[in-house]
């Protein structure tokens, strides 16, 4: 950090909480965060830009007489004014369902700050980006190649009126590259990217190039998409995306508001016995790992779905109070780091067992459908036809559509091999509706 502020801001957030309480708030919570980052970007195969970034934010949530409001600024100089604005706004604020934050309790210890990541010099980022670009260029001089490499360091401190004072410092790096191949009006996009908190062997431009080249080669041939009700195989990144509706439906708030299609399914079977979904918030160095939610409630390993049976919903402090449930350490009632438990066959075995199927690597337009209802749909931005167990060619102009809950309860399977960073397996889904314009 060019200018570390944590010591000063630890005092400031406590002062904000005290000031809000003095002005009549029953409870108050303040958080300060500062981030610094550098990055480099390659466009058309050459270094295009390098950047330097810095940002700060101080926010204060206040609870007063059953109402709640949040005020944010990035001038940490004027804490009393911030507190006065928050208390005034809380008078006409949103409904608050508790009048105090939970007492602080012991949290897990996880590794999140890597000095080597924080010290990554700009030259190393440029070197890595260049290596990724050159690795992809080995395929062809005709490609349009881009890459982006960055590293960041952040510090944050949170305090609330039930005695919490917690500091965190984190680091992160990000390394990715892509290629665009244009042939007449036919365009292919592929690429790969990773992020992690620790500088280790994952920081590997060759991996970016290898993954990109793999797709470039697989996509050299095109094949007609199988249509009708089709079995699809989704690699880890796509699998995590396709399961997003489940996280929405397991939100305690969606359940309480009546939006969740799973609201009355607790204890019921919602999927095949091979479906187990957990929240794994304590993985060292994983970018989204966290030890507590935004109110200081410790996070913990958590099972949403156990062998097909819906086990639990996620609750933040306010929603838990409203529902008469216990807070589960989930900010905004969403997962910290959702994962799927692996199965028994490898992804290669799953593919080889397919007489006909579709590998869906990337969907365009995912999220436009009614995700809350479990409706998933999209255009296969990158996908391959599988025939007699082999990947035979890229499909084009193809749409997939299905209801996730129907799929999970059908012939669903997770692979035994998982992505080392995300912890997700490949998944196999039977009965996905596929239509194609050829």
């Amino acid at each position: 950090m060019r200018r570390p502020m944590l010591d000063r801001m630890a005092d400031a957030v406590q002062q904000a909480v005290e000031e809000a309480t003095r002005l009549g708030a029953q409870a108050a919570k303040a958080r300060f965060a500062q981030t610094e980052a550098i990055s480099c970007e390659f466009e058309a195969g050459v270094l295009k830009a390098t950047t330097s970034e810095q940002g700060r934010a101080l926010s204060l949530e206040v609870i007063r007489d059953g109402k709640r409001a949040t005020v944010t600024c990035n001038d940490p100089g004027d804490v009393p004014a911030l507190a006065a604005r928050a208390v005034a706004l809380a008078e006409i604020g949103a409904s608050a369902h508790c009048s105090a934050y939970p007492e602080p309790s012991t949290c897990a210890q996880i590794l999140r700050h890597c000095p080597e990541t924080a010290a990554l010099p700009r030259e190393r980022l440029i070197e890595a980006g260049r290596a990724a670009v050159e690795g992809i260029r080995a395929y062809s001089d005709e490609l349009y190649i881009g890459a982006e490499v960055s590293r960041s360091e952040a510090e944050a401190v949170i305090a609330h009126s039930s005695g919490l004072l917690h500091r965190t410092t984190t680091t992160n790096w990000n390394l990715g590259g892509y290629a665009q191949k244009t042939d007449g009006t036919d365009m292919l996009f592929c690429g790969a990217g990773r992020q992690w908190r620790r500088l280790n062997s994952f920081f590997d431009p060759d991996w970016v190039a290898r993954e990109t080249l793999h797709d470039l080669r697989l996509a050299e041939r095109t094949a007609p998409a199988p249509t009708g009700l089709v079995t699809i195989l989704a690699p880890p990144e796509a699998a995590a995306m396709l399961l997003a509706p489940l996280a929405m439906a397991c939100s305690g708030r969606s359940v309480l508001k009546g939006e969740s299609p799973l609201r009355d399914k607790l204890g019921a079977k919602i999927g095949s016995p091979s479906l187990t979904i957990i929240d794994a918030p304590h993985v060292d160095w994983a970018p989204d790992s966290a030890v507590m939610d935004d109110c200081g409630v410790p996070t913990r390993p958590f099972t949403m779905v156990d062998r097909g049976v819906l086990r639990a919903f996620m609750y933040d402090v306010d929603t838990a109070a409203m529902a008469g449930a216990k807070p589960t350490g989930h900010t905004g009632c969403g997962p910290v780091r959702m994962q799927m438990q692996p199965g028994t066959r490898t992804s290669a075995e799953m593919r080889r067992g397919l007489a006909e199927g579709l590998i869906v690597k990337n969907l365009m337009g995912f999220g436009q459908s009614n995700l809350m209802n479990g409706d998933i749909a999209g255009n296969v931005a990158l996908g391959y036809r599988v025939e007699k167990g082999e990947t035979v060619g890229r499909v084009k102009n193809t749409m997939v559509a299905a209801n996730l809950y129907d799929l999970l309860d059908g012939g669903f399977e997770a692979s035994s091999d998982v992505d080392p960073l995300r912890g997700w397996p490949w998944i196999l889904l039977e009965g996905v509706s596929v239509s194609s314009g050829g």
């Binding site: 970034e53 810095q54 709640r68 949103a94 440029i126 337009g365 209802n373 102009n397 239509s435």
Partner: protein
């Protein structure tokens, strides 16, 4: 503030440099179900210095002007690490030193937060209670008053106030385990009154959400489709507009060949325009975020590719005029080539004529969103109807259209005479920057053989 920016820039060691600094005052209120779920206010500042040295770019962003000299130096140093050739920046006229104060017909800053909460509460009540079958609701109001100061080493210097109010209405209906949603809203840079008087719209949103629970899914396959104004506007934006952004093209020889001006894109009736200077639209500003005046650009004229959207760099590198389309979303974002207000010009047919010619097809209405990856696009209608023997039939849901831009533009075989420009909430996303305020518009259009995903 403008002088301070220009002064700091005078010490920039770069071929080109600019600085933008903004202060945002924002307030938002959101209901979800019967209760107010969120009340927030924020005052945030932020900015970015961008420099170009020997054709390479550097930038430094920040949230306070305290250290501006450092950020100018940092941006120039960053740029110095990159460039190896020559800086190319279009020689377009620059924004003269000027101030553009907001001229709000009714200024939201003079209205008490309690009144705004009451407004949202009233809409929320309509959403929840006017139609049986609504399970829960979303109703939100947000306002932001942004003050932007900009200066560039080319002598551009302006201060602009950019107010915006958004009103968002959503209903969630349920029938057994089927959950359906409908959203709508209004946005305006002109007046708080855009958020007022939307009771009928709230009721319509509730009614449509409930109707969708009774509607079957749209059958998948290849259909002839009539798109309503809003969906056709999203189509123009998503499927074609993004392709005309020159930063996708200027350094890519194959793309330059593909998007060569004069190429036949569609029938002679097809005209597509981007206009950042039209009154009362959300993408409208006097200058873009490089200090270039905005204006009207024909992207397709009489079916032929006629122009594209540029920043100063892409214009210089392609030898085409700068169009004033370099825009940034967040305070510290670097500007990218973006659309402003994009629309298909009116044709001559009536909507009835478009539908009458179809034996079996889909009338697709409203847009839930869209995405594009160059020539492939996909977008989702909010709802629709079957067309049978030239007449509208039952309502259908889950309509996702996809296709290849080049084929689809040629497949437009009817353009109605009813152009409508939509000013809704939300906006456009690109390169991690969203939501950018844009408007889009179109008359009803008919497309042959469009692929619709469905079950």
């Amino acid at each position: 503030m403008r002088d301070r920016l220009a002064d700091a820039l005078s010490r920039a060691k770069a071929d080109y440099a600019e600085v933008r600094f903004s202060i945002d005052d924002s307030t938002s209120v959101m209901y979800r179900g019967p209760e107010p779920e969120q009340v927030r206010s924020a005052r945030l500042s932020g900015g970015v210095v961008r420099a170009c040295v020997r054709g390479g770019w550097g930038s430094s962003n920040f949230d306070s002007l305290d250290d501006l000299d450092h950020h100018v130096r940092e941006a120039c140093e960053c740029a110095g690490l990159v460039g190896t050739t020559a800086t190319q920046i279009a020689d377009a006229p620059v924004a003269p030193p000027s101030e553009h104060r907001a001229a709000l017909l009714r200024d939201f800053r003079g209205i008490a937060v309690t009144e705004k909460i009451a407004l949202v509460a009233a809409y929320n009540d309509i959403l929840l209670r006017s139609v049986p079958g609504v399970e829960t609701s979303f109703a939100g109001y947000s306002e932001v008053f942004r003050t932007v100061a900009f200066a560039s080493s080319r002598g551009a210097s302006f201060l602009e106030e950019r107010p915006r109010v958004d009103l968002f209405l959503g209903a969630v209906a349920r029938d057994g385990s089927l959950v359906q949603q409908c959203f709508d809203g209004r946005a305006s840079l002109q007046t708080y009154d855009a958020a007022v008087g939307l009771e009928a719209l709230a009721e319509e949103v509730a009614r449509r959400a409930v109707a969708l629970t009774k509607a079957p899914p749209c059958p998948g396959g290849t259909h002839t489709a009539v798109l309503d104004n809003r969906l056709a506007g999203v189509f123009a934006h998503e499927a074609f507009g993004h392709m005309s952004e020159a930063d996708f093209i200027y350094e890519n020889p194959q793309m330059r060949e593909l998007m060569v001006l004069g190429r036949e894109m569609g029938g002679p009736e097809l005209n597509i325009v981007d206009d950042g200077s039209m009154p009362d639209a959300q993408g409208t500003h006097p200058f873009d975020d490089e200090g270039t005046a905005t204006g009207k650009t024909y992207l397709i004229r009489n079916g032929l590719l006629a122009g594209r959207l540029h920043s100063l760099e892409t214009a210089a590198k392609m030898g085409e005029p700068a169009t004033g389309n370099a825009r940034a979303v967040r305070q510290s974002d670097r500007p990218l080539v973006r659309m402003t207000n994009t629309y298909i010009e009116a044709g001559t047919a009536t909507v009835q004529e478009l539908i009458a010619g179809i034996d079996k097809g889909i009338y697709a209405c409203d847009a839930l969103g869209g995405q594009t990856m160059m020539e492939q696009f996909t977008f989702s209608a909010g709802y629709g109807y079957r067309i049978e023997n030239g007449l509208l039939g039952e309502m259908v849901r889950d309509i996702v259209l996809t296709g290849n831009l080049f084929q689809t533009l040629h497949a437009i075989d009817g353009i109605a005479d009813d152009l409508v420009i939509t000013n809704g909430p939300g906006g456009c996303g690109k390169g991690g920057q969203a939501p950018l305020p844009v408007s889009f518009g179109s008359p009803h259009i008919r497309i042959r053989d469009v692929v619709i995903g469905g079950r």
